[in-house]
Amino acid sequence: MAKLPKQDELLQISYKPPKTPWMDLPVDFKPGTYCHGAKGKDLQAVGFPNARDWSPGEEDWKLPEEWKDTVLAGMADRLGKYRSFRLFMDVCVRCGACADKCHFYMGSGDPKNMPVLRAELMRSVYRRYFTKSGQLFGRLAGARDLTVDVLKEWWYYFYQCTECRRCSVFCPYGIDQAEITIMGRELLNLLGLNTEWISGPVANCYMKGNHVGLEPHTMVSNIEYLVDDIETLTGIHITPSFNRKGAEILFVVPSGDYYADPGMYTCMGYLMLFEELGLDYTWSTYAGEGGNFGFFTSNEMAKRLNAKIYAEAKRLGVKWILGGECGHMWRVLNQYMDTWNGPADFLEEPVSPITGTKFTNATSTKMVHIAEFTADLIHHNKIKLDPSRNDNLRVTFHDSCNPARGMGILEEPRYIIKNVCNNFFEMPEDTIREKTLCCGSGAGLNPGENMEVRLRGGFPRANAVKYVQEKHGVNMLANICAVDRVALPTLMDYWVPGVGVCGVHELVGNALVMKGEKKRETDMRGEPLPERSAEA
């Protein structure tokens, strides 16, 4: 991992574009700004082309001889398959409204991180090969040849976009850079040009059922480890079930919650809540991943990974599916799953067994977001909560990009937080809800080797957290995304020391008063409860 630059070095940001036209600016593969290349074995595991080890920093990318034809044929194919792609290649007027909306641009000043220019990287090639004006007028019409350097530029900048869709909120035509990045990555994957951090988890998920590659017995022992911690904390012993046929509900979470700090506390929150409710649910080791790094690769790969959820629900004979807190997981579940792998006619329309509430917004996918499920419980007074147990926390909420802009789940998590915490403070309006700022590590950009870019991309979010830290003494950043829980702690430590990161169900677990529990001494993280520390 490259040495971390100092804050004041990173903050030397200038939004003034360089003199050189962007087409003449070569990409600088500077360590710290890009991910490692995909490993051959990972590409091979899922049958991807041009499987080989390669390094983006090296001159030779070991491209197949006919690479250019492959890309152009792939482009033609996708222009015919995706209206979004063809339309977004054509209708941009370069008004520049999106330019300063991208967190990577705000944090780097690199003009090619303006969404409009990131899109022009692709459009210039589209014009050259797919429009008359580009063929006739060339560069004057904004067209350029597809060369190896252009390909490298694509790789660099399409893996420096978190598909967060913030630009799309502000675009007068709804042009969504995520759609263009998704297409760009599809084309790059035709040549085996992925990153290690994405293709590794994809291979893991395909073969083992989760991104982190936990084999079934390890997943079980990880959960049991959390069960032990819950027993220590509450005196209550939980016996979760795995791959159990006949359960009412299949529960699917992002695999980061099984083991990673602080995601595992969120997972403990789920376990405690379900225990308290007596919910008839099961985990699955086969469909043990809600997240979908295939989505950062190609639509086909995403579909192949996603297929396991319905397949497992069918095999186990459950009635419906409940999904944990995860960002891109819910983009996929909300906007893609049913189309890819539905119809889920073997499941029943989801009904909360506790409140009887019918989740009428999920009657086709039969999959409910846990924030919807828990908000409904609280609204019907079905669980006993002691929010004062979270009194040591001054909480703000980070809307994760995908649930905000690819679903719109804004109020449910806030409602839950306000019921389980006494101190909740919003960040400034222009940085939350549909205008939320990305963690800078989404869409598979959260390894360590590109830390400089992650810190830069995360700076705008951190800046807003700092605002509420200074104004309200905020010390906890809640969210409903596993990538946030993995990525934001590093970001907070760097930009806003003193602010922790947690999932919403960690706060629920802390506040939840369970039947027959012993008097709690600490919260899940082993920190003394607030009234205790006041006595001491």
């Binding site: 574009p17 398959k81 520049g96 409204a97 003009p111 397949a311 086709s364 109020e411 222009d430 549909e434």
Partner: protein, 329 residues
Amino acid sequence: MKIWSSLLAVVALVLIAWLGTGVAGLYTVFGVGIPYLAFLIFALGFIYRILKWGRSPVPFCIPTTCGQEKSLPWIKHNKIENPSGTAGVVGRMILEILFFRSLFRNLKTEKRGDKLGFGSAKWLWLGGLAFHWSMLIILLRHLRFFLDPVPSLVRGLDGLDSFLQIGLPILYITDIIIVAALLYLLARRLFVPQVRYISLASDYFPLFLLLGIVTSGILMRYFLRVDVVSVKELALGLVTLRPTVPTDIGSIFFIHVFLVSSLFAYFPWSKLMHAGGIFLSPTRNMANNSRRVRHINPWNYPVDVHSYAEYEAEFKEKMKKAGVPVETE
């Protein structure tokens, strides 16, 4: 280069029209042939482009949600910014197309010391809206040349647009607004460094062309007066497909008509097609109801998956040891 070539192209168009009519006297070509041809290119081109976009399917339901989803009955649903059905989508599209809703959200990101600030930035929205609405009103006003009798709606619009009652001929407010708006849009392209950096010749050319059209129109109305009766005769002839060619109108009129014709012919092949494209934008014209209604992808195809049976075959012993139920013994 991008700027000068665009400006020169428009100057060349002006010269062609002037030489063609004022010197060569090709009134039929510039008054009838070219306008018909341009209109044909525009109409067919527009349809062609829309059909071409329309031929590509929308495989996934991908609205960009900008408000609360429809979920639990007691949570306030944002029906416009996150529509759950057709009515909401129509509302969202109306706001988008008539009032540029998304552009209204625009913010300015500023670095203040070691912090970032977000400020309101409504000028682009205002400039864009002012230009497009003036353009629409001016187009509708022009119907008075093409229709006889002039519909009362057009006459009413004319009256509204000139209610200030300044000068003779009476000044149209939209004439002032459209010039100001075009100059603003051009100025920000020239002087805002980021916008200048991303601009192409195809961004400058339509601005210069529109400025040329507006300028020639204003000159003709207020300064180099032309015979309105002859103009109407020509326009009516074009519409009724019985074109007559008056030769006494003056070159400024033919310059105006030629620039308009150029705009029409250029339109379908350029970024100006955003006018048609916005209606098709899947992030705006779809309802966020994909968990309730299954969206069909016409080219959905079966894919290789790692089946449970394959998974169990690999991990059966480990599963049994961990107490995870298996299918086969």
